[in-house]
């Protein structure tokens, strides 16, 4: 590689030149930053500015550049120099826009700008240009687990896009539960009548597609590898095992209806005339167009009661209740559809839907109205019990509108039980407990990963995926969840979900083949590099990696699967001996920034507060605060980090030893409703920081000198307030006694 040649570019555009002395910044870059070339420009992002940088790269062989202008989040297209290491000093959003234009703040504003130049110069000298994952692989086939409506849709979407797809289905036929439906809830205007499922056509398309290979009566025996090079053993009914090489997987294993036998109070098992929603589909299918028969005596059904939320939304669940605590979402519309089976055939049949809250979002409202038009009766009531009396069933309930107990007789009772995810094993249950279980959990993916055989679950047994921000992403890179395995949903949503997951899988194989990261650092060429000679085999990185990217060899050394890595740096933050780094993001690139600032002495009344801000949420929030000219203390210096999970405690100790007066860490929300782009990063950081108090006490420092905050991207007003409150706190506890020793 060519020798490093540095250059710094100071922009005076966007008002920077009017607020701070760019000449002073240029001097700092030259004298303290030791930049070989320093240039000032009136508008660096325009053609002439960008050309000047290109010329230096070409003619002066510049390899490392510092751009002191706007935030690293702005003008990314102009400042795009492939093969060049670049650091961006945030003078616009981070300094002139976040500091009031007052004469008495001019000095501290200039100090801020100078420090960001120092930090940029310090960072860039420790950066290398990432060359891309050397262990990349370029298998672009995609395997889908599950042949229901989600799995078939995903396979078809990918196959139509030209990607070879393998579909593995456990049963003997494609279609899943949807194949058992007589009709489906409509997905097209006017959303008034039950519609054809279209499953037979979909299955025929899948079976006949030249890019789709279908395995029926088959399960996954083992999954090895990483994006771009998965190797999947498929166990077939015959006992034979086939190995398929693929680049990504989609898990569309769907759901199992909640076992209605758990609901004897609602008559399940007491009378054959009490069925669940799939049971009713079977009855209607068996009737084959003629009137539906009552199972107990084959008498014609004249009245039906549909009981919503049967075994669902169990409020007692939190305190150890027996049934599902959540709403499965589709059942209200499904019951309306099933009531229409009767009403459309014979309007004289009484059909009643007993609900506590009718949940039919979107076009479901039209379908609900259509049900009412057809004479389906809706009663807001809570079912207490269902008794079998001869061929009839008695439904005892409380009418919640009339506020009284009542009873209705019906020939048939349909229980709207919910969806239970087929998400495989819960890998968080310790092996000892699994050993005690009567029914052993069965793995679906049989991943040969250190962290467990299936995908991690979030809550209620659904595969972990962020249901709003990045729905198909799981914690196993290159494996995407689609359909009711990740949250309860209806057929329309499952089709949309499968399409989304198909796109993600395609993106994953394409990125993997180029040695790039997947979401959320899609396109990032850096990857973790470990210096194994320094490793103490402590296993922290392998345990803490949220994505199961790191396995262990026989000697318990970490084995990195770069293609599985999302480049969050949680391993780097975890490593107690600091042997893990990225080419352009390392303990040094941040550490040197912390060490590079000019530290005023104890008596200056100018404290210095380090902010380590998550680049996904907190840093944009800070930038936006600047854009809205919301000012904050001039004593802070902000360093963006990939994730709070990547924060190594050495940065904190270095900062405090170096005389910094306080450290603010800003990361995303953690827990079940996390907002962390790397799922567990902020949680790891919070766990590590819970131990930092001891270090502070050892150093003889107040515990307030390190503080953590959960910051969302929308906290634009709140972030400056947090900073100012913290700055006031530091003023109160006084300057750090550690200044001047480093």
């Amino acid at each position: 590689m060519a020798e490093m040649k540095t250059a710094a570019y100071i922009c005076s555009g966007c008002g920077i030149g009017e607020r701070v002395s760019t000449a002073q910044m240029a001097k700092v870059a030259q004298k303290e930053g030791k930049m070989a070339l320093v240039r000032e420009h009136a508008c660096l992002c325009d053609e002439s500015g960008v050309q000047a940088i290109r010329d230096d790269i070409e003619k002066e062989a510049v390899t490392h550049i510092v751009i002191a202008a706007c935030s690293r989040r702005a003008k990314t297209e102009a400042f795009n120099f492939p093969g060049i290491a670049m650091s961006r000093a945030n003078i616009r959003e981070g300094v002139i826009w976040s500091q009031p234009d007052d004469a008495d703040r001019a000095e501290t504003t200039q100090e801020m700008a100078d420090d960001y130049v120092r930090m940029g110069c310090a960072e860039v000298k420790k950066m290398k240009v990432p060359e891309g994952n050397p262990n990349r692989a370029s298998n672009k086939r995609i395997l889908v687990v599950g042949g229901g409506v989600s799995g078939m849709t995903a396979a078809l979407e990918m196959a139509d896009a030209g990607y070879d797809t393998v579909l593995v289905e456990k049963s003997a036929a494609l279609g899943g539960w949807s194949a058992q439906l007589v009709k489906r809830v409509p997905s097209k205007q006017p959303y008034a009548d039950p519609a054809d499922t279209g499953i037979a056509e979909l299955a025929a398309k899948v079976s006949g597609h030249k890019h789709i290979k279908v395995y029926l009566n088959a399960v996954i025996a083992q999954t090895n590898g990483a994006p771009g090079r998965f190797s999947v053993d498929i166990a077939q009914e015959s006992g034979a095992t086939v190995t398929e090489e693929v680049g990504a997987l989609i898990q569309a294993t769907g759901f199992t209806p909640y076992d209605m036998m758990q609901l004897p109070e609602l008559g399940a098992g007491k009378s054959p005339n009490v069925v669940d929603q799939l049971g009713l589909e079977k009855l209607v299918k068996a009737a084959n167009g003629s009137p539906v028969k009552r199972p107990s005596d084959d008498g014609e059904v004249k009245s039906v009661v549909f009981i919503q939320c049967a075994g669902q939304r169990d409020e007692a669940m939190e305190s150890g209740g027996r049934h599902l605590p959540y709403c499965s979402g589709h059942c209200c519309a499904t019951s309306i559809k099933q009531a229409m089976y009767f009403k459309d055939a014979n309007p004289d049949i009484d059909t009643m839907v007993m609900y506590t809250d009718l949940r039919v979002p979107g076009t479901g409202e039209d379908f609900y109205r259509s049900g009412q038009q057809k004479g389906v009766i809706f009663t807001k009531g809570k079912t207490a019990s269902v008794e079998a009396s001869g061929n009839a069933c008695k439904v005892n309930f409380k009418d919640l509108i009339l506020n009284e107990d009542a009873t209705i007789e019906a020939d048939l009772v349909v229980l709207a039980t919910g969806m239970v995810a087929n998400s495989g094993m819960n890998i968080d249950i310790p092996e000892e407990e699994v050993a005690k279980m009567e029914v052993k959990p069965v793995s679906i993916l049989n991943l040969n990963y250190r962290q467990g055989k299936d995908m991690p679950q979030l809550k209620n047994g659904f595969a972990d995926s962020h249901f709003i921000c990045f729905p198909y992403e799981t914690r196993r890179t290159g494996i995407y969840a689609a359909g009711p395995v990740r949250r309860p949903m209806d057929m329309t949503q499952a089709i949309e979900d499968a399409t989304g997951a198909a796109m993600k899988a395609i993106q994953a194989v394409e990125n993997a083949s180029l040695g790039r990261a997947a979401h959320p650092r899609a396109g990032d060429l850096s990857y973790p590099i470990v210096r194994l000679e320094g490793c103490t085999q402590c296993k922290r990185c392998t345990v803490e990696c949220p994505f199961g990217a790191i396995d262990e060899d026989e000697k318990r050394f970490p084995v990195f699967n770069e293609s599985r890595c999302r480049r969050c740096g949680t391993c780097m933050g975890a490593c107690p001996v600091r042997v893990i780094s990225f080419e352009n993001y390392s303990v040094d690139t941040v550490g040197m920034q912390i060490k590079s600032v000019d530290m005023p002495d104890e008596f200056s009344e100018k404290p210095r507060i380090l902010i380590l801000a998550c680049e996904n949420d907190a840093y944009p929030a800070l930038d936006m605060a600047g854009m809205q000219r919301r000012s904050y203390s001039a004593f802070v210096r902000i360093v963006p980090v990939r994730c709070l999970g990547s924060v190594n405690t050495i940065w904190i100790t270095d900062a405090l030893n170096g005389g910094w007066d306080g450290v603010m860490m800003m990361g995303c929300k953690k827990g079940d409703d996390y907002q962390c782009h790397f799922v567990k990063g902020s949680e790891m950081a919070s766990y590590r920081m819970s131990k930092v108090d001891d270090t502070l006490k050892q150093m003889g420092l107040e515990t307030e000198r390190v503080a953590s905050y959960e910051v969302a991207i929308t906290d634009i007003e709140r972030v400056p307030q947090l900073i100012d409150e913290y700055a006031a706190k530091i003023k109160e506890i006084g300057m750090s006694p550690m200044k001047g020793f480093a």
């Binding site: 009412q372 004479g375 809706f378 009542a406």
Partner: protein, 204 residues
Amino acid sequence: MSEHAVAPYRNDFLREVEKNVEEGHWVKMCMQCGVCAGSCPLGNAWAHPPQEIFMMIRAGKREEVLTSDSMWMCTSCYNCIVRCPRQLPITHIMHGLANYAHRLGLAPKGQPTQATATLFWNNLIKKGRVNELTFSLALYFKDGFVQGIKNALGMQSIGLGLMKAKRLNPMEILGGHGVKDQSGLQAMIAKAREIEDRKKGFSK
């Protein structure tokens, strides 16, 4: 089982309402949001707000609905119609129900709105015009002779004022004026009633 015995929560009474009550076919479209109940300025005076009436119809509470004085409390302010997210003509349904209960003889006896409406109707169809004097007097005396005298004395000054302003002709007490072709009017009303009876199931 008598003709109108209704099993709870079966659709018999709902079907009866759909068939015989003006705008009754809207009852099934109520989604029980309660906006009508919350919007009624006389809500406090109602034993059952419209939302509840609709539920009672679906629950088959025939007797309770038809003997209720709730729908007689409606003053036709139309707040509920304007606000109903399902666009139910609630005011009209209330009047339809009241009328149906009255026709069946189930409306509560002595209910003031019903009594007033009956007097108004009977007064009107006599000559095709409302005779304000006889209508007012009939209203004063509807609760008995003594109460009638009290009412009349209480309204004395207003009555005299109206007379002075020539807005009230005391001679109207003798029968007053009417529309032309009164036998034609009676024939029209009889025909209308016959059609209505046929539609609402009152024809013998």
